[in-house]
Symmetry: C2
Subunit: 379 residues, 2 copies
């Protein structure tokens, strides 16, 4: 399987980290991305510039390859289905991408498979939403094309109705939660599964913002077992081949609910490059090449901070504070080969390790306060 010709749809940072992991096995990788300056451009063994959403482009890209995978869900699934019919191995399977691309189908799938998730109502358009005022507060989610926080609106009362999407979507009950957790599962074509340890998103004590990711999550053994079990059951229900990142809510009552899933490497697994025996990226290759899955054993507690473009700056990226970070033991910045910064653009992440938890958290705070992505051209 190591000599397969492999394609990745998408050449962003997840693709970059997949390429880095593939160096160990000499994987012959072809990357397709619409952006000539995509993060993967300079180090991909083969790079094709082209649309991920155009049937012909995706089909032609894949037709001389053996295995095709994705690092972003917004791709032309019809082309992937055509390639699958011709005997190409397409992982995750196009049918799974289709189910997950549409949040309406995704939610119905959980209901059908009795996987725990917040209550929801399907809505057809904005007017339809007005029929469910008593269901608020709720999140109105666009069925398709939501991405990275876009396509979600919180509706508290009838006054917010103008914020509702005028397209097919769903209302999801706003559940109070104590923690946001995530579990990444890998599953190969033989049906073997491995999960990574449960992680948690740590929120700022005052602002309602994710401050950093922390692994392993500080939760009871019981909650952890529940989270791991739900993640495995979800991956198995989808029969996915590849990675499934399962984002979860932990309610104050100790209930664990699925928030949403991603059928690919995920932001909540970047730290595994440094902290775990097998990274999520290597595990993705193992899963889609139908190889034995690797040990997900963690060598110690870790944290991860996203490095976002500072508000107010747009232009060639300058990383202020890198030297301070590099001078701190076991602090590892990873930059995404993006020449230009924009406010809140994901420019990199920083992994932090420390055997001592208090010191780990102190280092995470230090990191957050001491690095900034700016530009000498202000916006």
């Amino acid at each position: 399987m190591l000599s397969s010709r492999i394609g990745i749809l998408g050449g962003g940072q997840l693709g970059l980290m997949l390429l880095q992991a593939a160096v160990d096995w000499n994987l012959d990788i072809h990357v397709l991305d619409p952006d000539a300056e995509a993060p993967c451009r300079k180090i991909a063994p083969h790079f094709t510039q082209g649309s991920l959403q155009d049937f012909d482009t995706v089909y032609n890209f894949g037709k001389d390859l053996d295995v095709i995978t994705i690092e972003i869900e917004k791709v032309n699934v019809e082309a992937l289905e055509a390639l699958e019919k011709e005997g190409k191995k397409v992982y995750p399977q196009p049918s799974v991408i289709r189910q997950i691309q549409d949040k309406r189908i995704q939610k119905q799938f959980y209901a059908e498979k009795q996987l725990p998730t917040a209550e929801f109502i399907l809505t057809e358009n904005r007017e339809d939403v007005s029929n469910y005022i008593s269901f608020l507060p709720a999140f109105h989610k666009l069925g398709k094309d939501g991405y990275d926080g876009r396509g979600v609106q919180r509706l508290t009362s009838a006054d917010d109705l103008d914020k509702a999407f005028d397209k097919p979507g769903l209302l999801e009950k706003a559940v109070p939660f104590e923690k946001e957790l995530a579990v990444i599962v890998a599953r190969n074509a033989k049906g073997e599964m491995e999960t990574f340890p449960t992680v948690e998103m740590v929120f700022h004590p005052e602002h309602n913002l994710v401050e950093y990711l922390f692994a392993p999550a500080e939760i009871s053994e019981e909650v952890n077992a529940k989270a791991q079990e739900i993640a495995r059951k979800t991956a198995e229900s989808f029969q996915i081949v590849g990675l499934l990142a399962v984002e979860l809510f932990l309610t104050p009552e100790g209930e664990v609910l699925i928030n949403e899933v991603a059928p690919r490497p995920h932001n909540s697994g970047h730290h595994t490059i440094r902290a775990n025996a097998t990274s999520q990226y290597e595990q993705h290759w193992r899963a889609i090449l139908n190889l034995p899955l690797g040990s997900t054993h963690a060598y110690g507690p870790s944290a991860m901070v996203n490095l976002l473009g500072e508000d107010g700056y747009e232009g060639p990226a300058v990383y202020e504070g890198m030297e301070k970070l590099l001078a701190t033991p076991e602090v590892f910045p990873f930059l995404y080969w993006k020449a230009l910064t924009k406010p809140f653009r994901k420019m990199g992440h920083i992994t932090i390790m420390d055997a001592d938890i208090a010191s780990l958290k102190a280092k995470a705070d230090f990191v957050k306060n001491n690095i900034k992505v700016i530009s000498h051209k202000t916006k």
Copy 2:
């Protein structure tokens, strides 16, 4: 420093691992290698095919770069000196490469700096060697151009004189030794130094062959302190900027002697990619970019097995047993992007980790016995 234009002379496996480590920091790397199919070819951001030993080629390669480094010592040092004079940062410094390229100068340097090494006599040609029969048994080493075991002959008595080199070289007393150790030191331009934990080469109990590398070395605290101290002192004596791999002999009397050194990443540090907080490759970048050096803390004991082309096979490489290896927890094969195998060619290495030492050694044996690089075209 992260935005420097960086050049590597040599595009072999060490260059490949340097490139992989450079992904984290978006380093803009240019690679020069005479072989159009060099391991680095496919993933280097920039690749130039050309001789490493031709003045003009090396000079022209370096003249538009900011920082130039090597992954092999056999390069045109005059061109590097010219580049250094023009203000390029050339690390390791050309003067250090010159000292190390010639084993005669290297040995005299140890004597002058009072660094412990086996007794030696400089010889001019084969006839000259015959003057020192009473000094045998000894190793006759070629001054220049010895590499990877070539350029060394063991002379036991006058009968072996025809094996001596008829060029400038040196006779080195054959010291009995208990273990071969190695310490990799990093030093940046500020003079900061960090060493990696001492490792040992484990020999086959019957054949006199290195079986695998083991980290940390199983030696007394006293011997370890001596090895670390000698390595630091050697790096400081050379005033090297970059990595210095110091290979050492441990004698039955507990004496630690320098065998030889390499001013670059080294075979004895491959395991640091998986086992240590900072790998030797990342540490090399930190050192030559004058950044703070990283923690060399090991997350646990590890072993490393070289993957050599099986004797009797020459042609397109086939890796027999990869799946068995991948099914063993914490066994990580790394292949060198070499399409063709040859007897004893370095085709890759395998890193093995295990918190339990007995189990680590058992896994190293399992690995050695279960992977083979062959070709379906026999020699």
